[in-house]
Symmetry: C2
């Protein structure tokens, strides 16, 4: 058996399943998106007229209105809001941090640090906390040094491992220090925590993101440090310098409020009660425009609907574009969507998400049965001309995973190139200017192609 035989097999396959017709149709989708996409323009409006839009903030409500207006303008048959309770975490003012240490000349040196309090963390009032800083490179070291932690500021300096080609793997590995690091330090009496930002960028932007307290332990303040500041602080501590740290954050929670999933539908012609969801989260961190995270996913999802409608495609199933509320610090929109689907006993065929930035698409990650996976893999040749060359087994994205769990729905997410995402993820530089229009569009057209195939052939 030769490689050549395999290619013949593919070719035969292609004709036998009508993929030739599908390749023509997907080319039509591609032309529509590449010639007439509104994705970048919609993102511009979201970023520049709404901007930051954390759950519960005034920006959230403006963003919901943007979502309703945009879905209507892009041709949804029906647009509605699905209310859900959302947390309301506020930064409460500018985060401040600094260090003091003895310089080479013997004089005390004071440096300010560029920090962002972690999402869902609690501040410590106007006086902040002052304490010696202890360098902790990883949790093993924390356990070894646990007797030295009391009364100190713990500085977690766990870096992104550069050897991972997929930056998401590094994020997964180091993310635990942001999420559970503060409480693990509090357990041994730490007064506050600095975490190295979850990034491998070369600038000094701190990257926020949510943390989670163990409610049985003191809820100590914690903030992410920019990478240059983290390197500098680590160097001082490795040199054996006594470094006095300072952290003041005013972060706190206001009472929960009501947010909404914004939903737009393109009604199914044969099975209107069967749903294909395509979505992204509408909220963003408070410090940026959320252009890649996840404005890009929102406008791509809307573009799927617009493009399919613009070329006159009448879906068999109802295609639902869902702009989820509160992914960043609660996932309450996604949970609400799954609960509602369950309570109404809706039939959900597939749910696709885009929440890895609007970069050049390379793959889809899919969470489905092996039989479904085989069926989808069969479609791969249709995607190769548009940059997607792999279907990966995996979990799907955060916002579609509750549906996957509760309803056993097949789920998936777009996997674009990962190199640039963590340069701006949860940081101030996640702005429109860092989105490349055509990469955004190529993501949207691949998503539209997958939605089309699932709608046409089922799963």
């Amino acid at each position: 058996m030769s490689r050549f035989v395999f290619f013949l097999f593919l070719l035969f396959d292609f004709r036998a399943t009508g993929q030739d017709h599908d390749s023509v149709f997907i080319r039509k989708i591609a032309d529509e998106v590449l010639l007439n996409s509104q994705a970048y323009r919609n993102l511009e409006v979201l970023c520049k007229t709404v901007g930051a839009r954390l759950a519960g903030s005034p920006g959230m409500y403006k963003a919901e209105q943007w979502g309703v207006n945009t879905l209507k303008a892009m041709g949804a048959d029906k647009v509605y809001l699905q209310p859900c309770s959302v947390p309301r975490w506020v930064r409460g003012g500018k985060d401040e941090a600094g260090i003091t240490y003895q310089g080479r000349t013997g004089k005390q040196v004071k440096n300010t640090l560029d920090v962002l309090a972690l999402g869902n963390s609690l501040g410590n009032g106007k006086n902040g906390v002052r304490a010696p800083v202890i360098l902790i490179n990883n949790f093993n070291e924390l356990e070894q040094e646990k007797d030295k932690v009391k009364g100190k500021i713990v500085f977690y300096n766990y870096p992104f491992d550069p050897r991972y080609v997929q930056q998401g793997t590094a994020y997964g590995e180091s993310g635990v220090y942001r999420r559970s690091g503060p409480s693990r330090a509090a357990k041994y009496g730490a007064l506050a925590v600095f975490t190295r930002s979850l990034s491998s960028s070369s600038d000094n932007n701190p990257h926020t993101g949510s943390t989670s307290y163990d409610t049985t332990l003191p809820k100590i303040p914690c903030a992410a440090l920019g990478l240059k500041d983290a390197d500098m602080l680590a160097r001082l501590l490795k040199e054996g310098k006594r470094v006095e740290g300072y952290l003041k954050t005013m972060a706190h929670f206001l009472p929960d409020t009501v947010g909404h999933n914004v939903i737009g539908e393109l009604a199914g012609s044969e099975f209107p009660e069967e749903y294909i969801t395509v979505g992204a989260h509408l909220d963003s961190w408070d410090v940026a425009e959320g252009a890649h995270d996840d404005g890009a996913g929102c406008v791509q999802s809307i573009e799927v609907l617009r493009a399919l409608k613009a070329i006159g495609y009448r879906p068999k199933r109802t295609i639902r574009v869902v702009l989820f509320a509160n992914e960043e610090n609660g996932l309450r929109g996604a949970n609400k969507y799954a609960e509602d689907a369950q309570s109404k006993n809706e039939k959900h065929l597939f749910a696709l998400e885009s929440d890895n930035g609007g970069f050049q698409p390379r793959a889809f990650e899919l969470g489905m049965t092996p039989v479904q996976m085989n069926k989808v893999r069969h479609w791969l040749p249709l995607f190769l001309p548009y940059g997607v060359y792999e279907f990966i087994e995996g979990g799907g994205g955060a916002d579609v995973s509750p549906l996957g769990k509760v309803m056993k729905t097949a789920i998936g997410e777009l996997r674009p190139d990962s190199q640039r995402y963590f340069d701006l993820h949860h940081a101030r530089n996640d702005v429109l200017e860092n989105v490349q229009r055509r990469e955004l569009e190529l993501g949207a057209l691949n998503m539209a192609a997958l939605v089309y195939l699932v709608d046409k052939y089922g799963l």
Copy 2:
């Protein structure tokens, strides 16, 4: 026959050919590059201490010195210069252009245009040229309108076709207007030419690049327009407005001078007289740092040598890193390299180039015999973990093609993502800040892997 059988086949294949060992070795190359790469740092020095380096300019000599120093510092056994005559085109001052037309209120409106004279074009002295502008959308239209061209400034507005997923295809299609448009317009009596920049970006940066005059026709001045200016001018002309154009460029040639290919070698242990070339061009346009075009390729080629040496690899063949002179407006370095190889009857096994920007790698384009191509395709599974998923048959890059022609050497070039390249190609924004460190490194490590395999197994 099922897909599963195919995967088994791949697996079998893998072991039978020792690819398992190779995958371990390539992981070693990858770790070395991702952990210790000097590519970005070297590029920083080139961009920020040398900057622009067009053939014959003072920057060219500084760049050559940078090349020599860097190759030595990165571990080349032997570094030398290969002299070649190079042209010396100079811009001669700031290019100026503008338009005048009757505005809505009846008043004359004057707009300046952001332009760059095309490389190798000739200016028209201090007074410039003033003439009515005629919109020509393509060469067919030029032929139809040829009687109206005399005494005018021809404005070629042929756009990048957005439907091409690979931006290089659009560049290939529209590039002819830059290269031969001026002479074709001169044939019908045009006094000057504006060309739409070869880009699909959304800013207004003009993109220069070389043009070529038909020596039997008047050598009229010509300049590229930024895309926003081009759109504005096209709109005015489509509305039927009479638009008076102005173009002043002082571009001219100084006498040819001597430039150099900068060559660094890692000596072969078994077949030292057999060469594998890995290279890129050292020159850049005069208006930018040439960070992607082609500083990226230079530092990637040097990184191949550095990384292989750093992990203790002793190549069988001699690996030659060549930083070619004068690709942009002459290709004289590449021609000289091929001529020398021929006159010395050198044995060249393979020549690899990187000249498509330091973006995320996706493929190699290879120009070789079908038998060689089959052999290389066999190695594809080794590249998948690092982002390269395709070997494409094609021509190889500009600087290795003379070797391919003259010596029938197998040639190839790295094919990274093409979406961002033409946003900055030949424009002022081709600067270090638009290079993402890890994308640059991933390109280098894939190149090193290919060089290793060719060295080990031959072609």
